[in-house]
């Protein structure tokens, strides 16, 4: 009954989680970073079965009568989580080691959270989805508070925890109502039953509450309030993980719930996500305009990007039947590319903050003159976030607009116009950072470079991979496009 090959990736990552914990037991204090090496090795090994599974012919392997499935969507997302984990570990090594935190446990929690994401990717019923979500959030609450001595980190953790738990409660309540209406926990069961109860207020209530639960996870406005404080308070690698890993998990949730479970009632979640998308873009971009702290700016930018990612959903609602997957594919592409760009942006923030010793944009003025390497990468990633070709971001926005204009009607055109306008507003605050780095005068006395070779080796590797990825995807978007198209097979048709 157990298809070990199918579950191989999850098993290996689970094994790595435990291996890291074990390694941490035996490693002396100054060689704690080896735990990270174990983690990285584990993740690399986990990639192998994914490749073999992808290569194998039968695309869908479902177990436990359909509640846990390994299909293209799951594989693409699992690969994405593993790579995200890989990068986050690389970014964390230098950061965490420098401040002598509890390294072993830190890597353990990150990997645990990643495992949660992978589970969510293949889960096809409410229970495993919920448990996967909790496995993603639990460690995240803890990691947010990892800088025990810093009051800001504690505050960030508490805020994140309370809002997290509350939205989990709402999610559960929603799930219970959906269970109550359809009598089944598995997505397929829900989809069949939902045809008959589509218009019932209770079912609408259930769907909306579930969406609110996931809305918190992807920090869509008005459930985004936790994000800026938590992003700023938490250690930067954790923030990077939150803005990419846990947000991607949230989108996995929304994608599965909307396109698979509630596929029968798009006229409910379509308009709801239209509102969330519009609000997130507008509020996220406007507030970001006047942010002084770089991490807070990236927080609002990630809220805005959550809005951009929600845009295709609105269009999907107006499409009956087959071409639902065009919108699905758009969101998956955007998530993948956003992951690369945002990780890169945070890697740069780590490097720059370490180099200048501050997170305020003003203090980075003139960085270009005394740290050209970091500045070039900063420009690369920030303008990719702004969506300027030839960097990867343009393709994400392009596909998003493509999905929205799929069937132009009043609402979708309005949303497309809002998105276009917001892309322009967004450019302003990205350009403001680049302007401060390149065009403002460098401070007279420049702090000596704490890092002997400019950037810690691990961070350098992360930089390298992400920069290459951004440029390659920018010039040959097919690299991401084909995966997204494969993943969208699940959506319909």
């Amino acid at each position: 009954m157990f298809d070990y090959h199918a579950l191989a990736p999850d098993f290996i990552v689970a094994g790595t989680v435990l291996a890291v914990l074990g390694a941490d037991l035996f490693l002396p204090r100054e060689r704690k970073w080896l735990a990270a090496v174990v983690g990285i090795l584990g993740l690399t090994v986990a990639l192998i079965p994914i490749v073999t599974l992808a290569a194998s012919d039968d695309s869908v392997r479902s177990m436990m009568d359909g509640s846990y499935v390994i299909d293209d969507f799951a594989l693409v997302l699992k690969a994405f989580f593993i790579l995200t984990g890989y990068i986050v570990l690389l970014m964390s090594v230098a950061y965490v080691e420098a401040d002598r935190y509890y390294q072993g446990e830190y890597y353990f929690l990150v990997l645990a959270s990643l495992l949660g994401g992978m589970v969510m990717a293949s889960s096809r019923d409410l229970i495993s989805l919920f448990v996967g979500l909790e496995l993603v959030s639990g460690p995240a609450f803890l990691l947010a508070g990892w800088k025990k001595a810093d009051a800001r980190s504690n505050e960030a953790a508490l805020k994140f925890f309370i809002i997290g738990v509350l939205s989990a409660a709402i999610l559960l309540y929603g799930m219970s109502l959906v269970y109550g209406m359809t009598g089944s926990l598995s997505f397929d069961g829900i989809r069949e039953a939902s045809a008959s109860v589509a218009e019932e207020p209770v079912f609408v209530l259930g769907i909306l509450l579930v969406l609110v639960g996931f809305g918190f996870k992807v920090s869509a406005v008005p459930f985004h309030f936790w994000a800026p404080d938590t992003y700023e308070g938490a250690p930067t690698p954790v923030t990077a993980y939150l803005s990419v890993g846990s947000k991607a998990a949230g989108f996995v949730g929304i994608l599965l719930v909307s396109y698979v479970a509630f596929a029968g009632a798009p006229e409910i979640w379509g308009p709801a996500l239209w509102i969330l998308a519009a609000l997130s873009m507008i509020v996220g971009n406007l507030i970001a305009l006047r942010q002084e702290n770089i991490v807070r700016l990236l927080a609002y930018s990630s809220i805005a990007h959550a809005g951009f990612m929600l845009v295709p959903f609105a269009a999907a609602a107006l499409v009956e039947g087959d071409s639902l997957n065009q919108a699905f594919e758009a969101t998956v592409t955007y998530v993948l590319i956003y992951g690369i760009m945002n990780l890169g942006a945070f890697a740069v923030v780590i490097a720059a903050a370490r180099r200048t010793g501050s997170g305020q944009i003003r203090d980075w003025s003139g960085l270009g003159s005394y740290a050209p390497g970091i500045s070039i990468l900063l420009t690369l990633f920030f303008f990719s976030l702004a969506g300027i070709p030839p960097l990867a971001g343009w393709y994400a926005k392009f596909v998003m607009f493509l999905a929205v204009l799929q069937n132009a009607n009043g609402w979708t055109i309005a949303l497309a116009a809002i998105a276009a306008l917001n892309a322009v507003i967004a450019l302003y605050y990205y350009a403001r950072v680049v302007q401060s780095v390149w065009m403002d005068p460098a401070p007279d006395e420049v702090a000596p470079d704490p890092e002997p070779s400019g950037v810690a080796p691990s961070l350098g590797l992360a930089f390298g991979m992400l920069a290459v990825a951004v440029i390659v995807v920018g010039v040959f978007p097919e690299a991401v496009g084909q995966f997204a198209k494969a993943a969208s097979a699940i959506a319909g048709g």
Partner: protein, 101 residues
């Protein structure tokens, strides 16, 4: 016994939990109220489980999982609250607004 009774009761518990979360200044009491909300959800699940009497006992299994996860959450929550208490000698969460705007 009608299903609606249970749902009304769970709705009541859920709302009171919400009130508790919004009104209480002490973090621990907020956690208490959260537990209340999760209890309400459990009632829902078991009630619907029984209403459908589905073979896989989905409702009750879900309830079990909710209980376990709630326990884990409480653990995490108290750890964070302790951390804050140790740094600020007070667990009132409305004084916690260093991170804003």
């Amino acid at each position: 016994m009608t299903l609606a009774q249970f749902l009304v009761l769970s709705a009541a518990l859920f709302s009171i939990g919400i009130y508790g979360v919004l009104i209480r200044r002490n973090a621990v009491l907020v956690l208490l109220s959260v537990e209340l909300m999760l209890a309400a959800v459990n009632i829902n699940f078991v009630a619907f489980g029984r209403y459908f009497a589905d073979s896989t006992a989905g409702g009750q299994v879900f309830a079990l999982f909710v209980v376990t996860v709630a326990a884990a959450e409480v653990g995490i929550g108290l750890a964070i609250v302790l951390l804050i208490f140790r740094n600020r000698a007070s667990a009132n969460i409305d004084e916690l607004d260093v991170l804003k705007w």
